[in-house]
Amino acid sequence: MIKYVVKRLLALIPVIIGVTMLVFFILKSAPGDPVRLILGEQATPEQVAELTEQMGLDQPLLVQYVKYMIGLVQGDLGIAYSTRRPVADEVFSRFPYTLKLSLVATVVSIALAIPLGIIAAVKQNTVIDNVSMFVALIGISMPMFWLALLLMLLFSLKLGWFPVSGAASWQSYILPAFALGFMNMASTARTTRSSMLETIRQDYIRTARSKGVSNSVVIRKHAFKNALIPTITVCGLQIGSLLGGSVLCETVFAWPGIGRLMVQAISARDVPMVLGCTVIFTICFSIVNLLVDLLYGFVDPRIKSMYS
């Protein structure tokens, strides 16, 4: 088990190299000069040349990249072009907001989705099933930013129940977390329903019932744990989309997380800042995936035996 975890963490190194390399060269090849953006249109060529040299932007791209990576290994995320302050300070002060928002969204969506999916499966083809699957369909089809705007219009502007933006109090978590978690909830609920439906048709469910186990215990004890395996897979994938979603959601709600920071950094051609955010996202995504894979082992003994 420990050997497996260490192996997976080591595999993170090539992933980070690959991701940073891609982002670095794509951003560098995009039009727009960060020095011009900082100094403005009126700056003299001398001023531009001076700042370019100062920021190390006159060196070949490969040298710039290698220098960045050497810094990264030492825990130095570089200096932001736009603010001239260390990227690490900015990223780590913003990161807790994104983490908290994502956690709330994930917990709420899973806590709603799994019971909903199970009820829909047990009451297959009833009104409850149809209504919950219709809601799930809406959740999957609706773009997140649009849902966010609608929520904001209704609950903040019309009804005034929740703040429009920012992260000042616990109330301000509700709308962004809902907007972020709704799509995940929808697809998790649908997956739970279909895997539950498949599970309750299995032979071992019939065996359990032939032992005299009551229907509700069959669902709770026998079907649920087996149905959970595909659900975990989907939840894991969803958390990836949650990170992407946080970029949109934080922008709409002016949430002070790293999703919004990254959007701002991209418009400012602030390469070190974008890279810093990307590295954090990459590490988060990989760790979540690792946790999901370990979770399989707890649910399914067949998978657990493969880890050792």
Partner: protein
């Protein structure tokens, strides 16, 4: 020892079961009769789709519903009508009074529960014991079916097919049921294991005086362990009797066909004679005798009228228009 209220452990009369699907009504059982005396074994023999498993599941009232519906008839367990039982009462009967061994041991066990937990679950439900006592008894059951008790902590994927079937048998026998339904318990196993498992079932059945419904399409198994045999075709028993009646005094053309399709050890060059054609579509059964389209002896009457039971002796009966009270005692079909 149990006190028996009725002569029969299980007594099914005129049972009709349908599967009502979007594509039509599948008539799975059409006037099924079945009786097993206490401590005896009945072999239920028939082709795939004849309604053998449906019969077994009906006794437990575990027909998948929807689409399955028990339309009519009676099922009496030791004289008590199961049709009147509520779902809760059935919960107390399943696993305790009636147990079922399913066909495919590879899928019959829950992959995420340990084997001993799965056996203990039944014991915990039906006997007033604590969890640890139930686990202890589960291990004893494992030993009984020839698996070391300490392997109970393992999961089904750590067992071979034959071992899994032993576990399934241990689950079925855990509460010492009065009736055991074995649905092709050895079909999924290879031949050497088949013999072991059958031998073990036979021993355990005798030890606990359990009645058994042996669902199979293997006449060899029937000859080995059954007392009486019912030949089922399209959801109805077409011939029933004891081993001697069925094997030595075969009457029904379908039963004869089943014997003819077995290889003959004395004349290994002889060609097998399969029964021509296929089972009729149970959603669209013929008006007369269900076997009529495949029968070499079919007459005009067979196309329009369903045959009634004709008794050769107290136990042996056949449903076929070839026979009447006068000629039923006479010799075999080919002499006609």
């Amino acid at each position: 020892m149990r006190e028996n209220k009725s002569k029969y452990s299980i007594d099914i009369e005129d049972l009709y079961v349908e599967y009502r699907t979007d594509y039509g009504v599948v008539k799975a059982l059409n006037g099924m009769d079945l009786k097993i005396e206490h401590g005896k074994t009945l072999g239920l023999v028939g082709e795939t789709g004849a309604g053998k498993t449906t019969t077994g599941l009906s006794i437990l009232k575990l027909i998948p519903d929807p689409p399955g519906v028990i339309v009519g008839g009676s099922i009496k367990l030791d004289g008590e009508d199961l049709m009147e039982k509520t779902e809760k009462e059935m919960g107390q009967i399943r696993g305790k009074e009636i147990s079922m061994i399913f066909q495919d041991p590879m899928t019959a066990l829950n992959p995420v529960m340990t084997v001993e937990e799965q056996i203990a679950e039944s014991i915990e439900l039906h006997e007033q014991v604590s969890k640890s006592e139930a686990i202890e008894k589960a291990r004893a059951m494992l030993e009984l079916v020839g698996i070391p008790g300490e392997r109970g902590k393992e999961y089904p994927h750590q067992f071979s097919g034959g071992m899994k079937q032993r576990v399934v048998i241990a689950i079925a026998l855990a509460c010492n049921p009065s009736l055991l339904i074995a649905d092709e318990p050895t079909t999924a196993l290879d031949v050497t294991i088949q013999a072991q498992v059958l031998e073990m079932m036979k021993e355990l059945k005798e030890k606990y005086n359990t009645s058994m419904l042996m669902i199979t399409h293997d006449l060899g198994i029937v000859a080995e362990i059954c007392d009486t045999v019912s030949i089922i075709y399209a959801g109805q028993v077409v011939e029933h009797g004891n081993l001697e009646d069925i094997f030595e005094n075969t009457r029904h053309p379908y039963t004869e066909g089943l014997f003819n399709s077995l290889p003959n050890l004395k004349d290994r060059k002889a060609k097998l004679k399969p029964i021509k054609g296929l089972m009729p579509d149970p959603a669209n059964l013929p008006e007369g005798c269900a076997f009529c389209p495949r029968c070499d002896y079919a007459m005009e009457i067979c196309k329009t009228q369903k045959p009634e039971k004709i008794y050769r002796n107290d136990g042996h009966y056949v449903r076929c228009h070839l026979y009447n009270e006068e000629n039923i005692q006479e010799g075999r079909l080919e002499t006609r």
